[in-house]
Symmetry: C2
């Protein structure tokens, strides 16, 4: 088997090996960057580990399973270990942003009504309450200053600030622990053995007889199967309901049984993973991937779905902290529902995208 | 001025008097029903009081202002007084329904994912958490029983039950007080004077010179002005933003300054009142009302907007109750955000409807 650069003419094994080589190089580059640029290093390590595991799954018939299966297990372990720290960082950022957004006034120009004279007695319901005009002119003075920071916003905002502090404490602690776990993992014999296996991808991939067949005959059907699995899973999602804005479906999980969110979210998370597998499969040269732009966008939307769902779960966990103040709990409740609405918004976006 | 039944040929004063007579009859019928059928009675009394006040405003140039202005003030007082009790009832029903919806699992057939085999290691992030399959099969057993009542749903549902009890206590108390206020008002000299004035509408309405002009020349422009006021006020609403689903605009009020909700909601409430005035104006025979079906639908949507906004405010008020448990406060936070999302959903619906 000589080295071929004309991929369309080569066999399937060469195409797969070429892709795995590229990923192995990225992995080793990531390893070399650790200590200098942690973020880039981690992104390279995680990205290549995921891709190698993904194509070894999709193109499983081309490689020796006795080699590929344990390799995928180890890659899964590494990806999960490395992924935890950035996930906590993203989650905390998302939740603090949301709390900030929830505690601040809308921009003045949109919130201020035009002056329209209202007759007395026209609204049967508002008689005993302060008149709309009086409320609005008091409000106008506030709105004229633009946006108002949380601290001037009364008792609810105190809860928001405390909720932010609580989440920051809990998620920073989780992040620190994840960081230690990553450092420990990277120093382990298990990691070194995996890194050695990945380094070997650059030179030798144990291929099956099937891999000797022409790439353009073997790869496209396998990539097609990955896409079919994705399409089938997406087809079982409640897309019609999700395509109705404000169906209030996802927020049910905010006060529902602990399993409600898992039950609701699992099929969407599954589609997210199948989407990723399908995209990686298409990256292998000769697989016939023509880069449907919908897939990249759908992947972002489902990533948002996943982050919002995990963030909502983190809020629910924080709300179980003993001895929190009612104002803090209240803010966490608002935040939880907000994140579940982000979940719903992502489902809506996916539904529109997928059905277009 | 003889009595004319050919309305298109009659003058404006006759058309207005005819409409006011109909409303006065409904009012007196409502009075007669009190004691037997309170709900129908109150609906008749409120509906006719609102309509009389509304057309006296829109067609103000046709009646003696020295008579009409105090009449409208009294009608406003009565409408507000009578409206409070049913509003508390609607509010409580809406909030208990929402809590029930938020505490219950989604229907099993939609929530259960199809079985799709997932490769190991494909999801870099899920490694340390329970596998999706295990979670789902545990959930499937729950979902197979259909929906699960709140009491089996863990600590969050305890908060939901307590929040429901708190809201029920507070809103029932408010309702009882409103009921007493209504009874007191109905027995007052002020009410009897108003009822006498309304009874007189059946026979004599103090008209101006303008009222002697032909109905088809006078009424349509005045009804048109009411519609123009509505269209102008609706035109100042942030309809474009509201037309984007999941803009998360209305929920900002959930943790924002106390004025945030008022600032945001006031222009919508204003449009709701102008819409009502425009509809009543069109009911007067000869006013040229051709019953745009959008208006009736828009009125329902803005009614929903109003109820959701007032319900959210009631939840915020309940959350300020001293010494509530954190779980209760958390459930109230979720409920508050949910109702603010209902506000947003109503704005979305109105935006689509109005711009269509």
């Amino acid at each position: 088997m000589g080295v071929s650069t004309g991929l369309d003419d080569g066999n399937a094994g060469e195409a797969l090996s070429s892709y795995l080589r590229t990923q192995a190089t990225a992995f080793l580059r990531g390893l070399g960057l650790r200590g200098d640029d942690e973020d880039t290093a981690d992104a390279l390590l995680r990205g290549s580990a995921r891709r190698i595991a993904g194509v070894l799954h999709t193109y499983g018939v081309l490689t020796d399973p006795a080699w590929a299966e344990p390799m995928r297990t180890e890659l899964g372990w590494l990806g999960a270990t490395l992924g935890r720290e950035p996930q906590y960082a993203v989650r905390l950022g998302r939740l603090l942003d949301a709390l900030r957004r929830l505690s601040v006034l809308a921009p003045a120009e949109e919130a201020l009504p035009a002056a329209v004279a209202l007759p007395q007695g026209a609204d049967g319901g508002a008689g005993a309450e302060p008149a709309g005009g009086a409320r609005r002119s008091a409000g106008a003075a506030v709105a004229a200053r633009g946006t108002v920071p949380a601290q001037s916003a009364g008792p609810l905002a105190v809860g928001a600030a405390r909720a932010a502090a609580l989440l920051e404490r809990q998620l920073t602690l989780a992040r620190t622990r994840a960081h230690s776990a990553t450092l420990q993992a990277m120093g382990s014999a298990r990691f070194h053995a995996l890194a050695d296996s990945i380094a070997l991808l650059a030179s030798e991939v144990p291929l099956t007889a099937r891999a000797a067949e022409p790439a353009d005959q073997v790869l496209p059907p396998l990539a097609g199967q990955a896409h079919t699995r994705l399409a089938e899973a997406a087809g079982t999602l409640p897309l019609r309901r999700a395509g109705h804005p404000y169906n209030a479906e996802a927020v049910q999980a905010a006060l529902g049984a602990d399993l409600t969110a898992d039950l609701q979210d699992a099929p969407w998370h599954q589609v997210r993973i199948l989407l990723r597998l399908s995209r990686y499969a298409a990256e292998v040269p000769g697989a016939g991937g023509h880069g449907d732009p919908r897939l990249a966008e759908a992947a972002l939307v489902l990533q948002r779905h996943h982050e919002a769902a995990e963030s909502a779960a983190a809020v629910a966990a924080a709300a179980r902290t003993p001895r929190i103040a009612p104002a803090t709990a209240y803010a966490l409740g608002v935040l939880h529902a907000d994140q579940r609405h982000e979940v719903e918004a992502a489902r809506f976006a996916f539904s529109r995208l997928w059905q277009s």
